[in-house]
């Protein structure tokens, strides 16, 4: 397939590469592996997300393909959303590496906190991460993300332990009162 680089965004997903093509307000995604290319139709953005699921399922028998993850990440990427809002050929042959924060760090934070707080905390770190990617580049931003995560673990662990001890004391008192 011949690709007009003025309207194409080259995306490095780690294990494979893809090209997101913008034509007359619609999008086509082409995933390129060593042996084959798979491509969606020209679609509006929300429809492309749905097509991503089907493409992933057909290609690998696996609904959570790299393509699908890419689409979700791009949907929440503020730079990409700004480009969509401007409604003009956005890409001009640019190349981008998706700026995802470290997932293991996110998991650690969420597992040590309550549901709403964990989400908000990860969101705060993601906000800092996005800002630092622009200022310092991804590598330094990832190091800073990990540094903040590690600094946060001790107070979160302390809080989780004190809550657990409080519940243990409540249960022990209840048992003494009821004679169980």
């Amino acid at each position: 397939m011949k690709i007009n680089t003025k309207r194409a965004l080259f995306i490095n997903m780690g294990n494979s590469q893809g090209v997101l093509i913008h034509e007359k307000g619609l999008f086509r995604f082409v995933e390129c592996s060593a042996t084959q290319q798979t491509s969606t139709e020209l679609l509006r953005w929300p429809e492309l997300i749905r097509a991503a699921r089907a493409l992933g399922a057909n290609a690998d028998g696996n609904t959570e393909s790299e393509f699908l993850k890419l689409m979700f990440d791009l949907t929440f990427d503020s730079t990409f959303r700004d480009l969509l809002a401007e409604d003009k050929p956005p890409f001009d042959g640019q190349s981008v590496r998706l700026q995802n924060p470290p997932r293991i760090a996110e998991f650690l934070l969420i597992s040590l906190s309550s549901l709403s707080h964990g989400d908000a905390m990860v969101g705060d770190l993601n906000e800092r991460f996005a800002d630092e990617c622009k200022k310092f580049g991804r590598q330094r931003a990832v190091r800073l993300y990990w540094a903040r995560t590690l600094r946060s673990l001790r107070p979160l662990l302390g809080r989780a332990v004190s809550k657990a001890l409080k519940w243990a004391a409540v249960i022990a008192a209840a048992r003494r009162l009821t004679g169980l």
């Binding site: 929440f76 908000a120 990860v122 705060d124 993601n126």
Partner: protein, 105 residues
Amino acid sequence: MELTTLEQHLLLAIIGLHPNAYGVSIQDYIKERTGREPSTGSIYASLDRLEEKGFVKSRQGEPTGERGGKRKLYFTVTASGQHTLRASLQALDALSHGTVLGAAI
């Protein structure tokens, strides 16, 4: 009810930032004024304690792209929180009064 130093800082920051007090803004507010940046984990652990005691309440904001689709959590200080904070600051004031430090301040 006793407040730790961080809890005092958090309550003051939330009052100062009202109604836009959320994790990042609170952290920046405290860092600008004290020179020290509390960790995100210590902020949320303390806010969790304060919320449990009824001194602050939270509400969810909208998710944004730069936050990876995660919602902000905005905090406000309750009347009980303001009362406890005032008592805590008055206690500090009473302690420093009559000392060399109290005269200097």
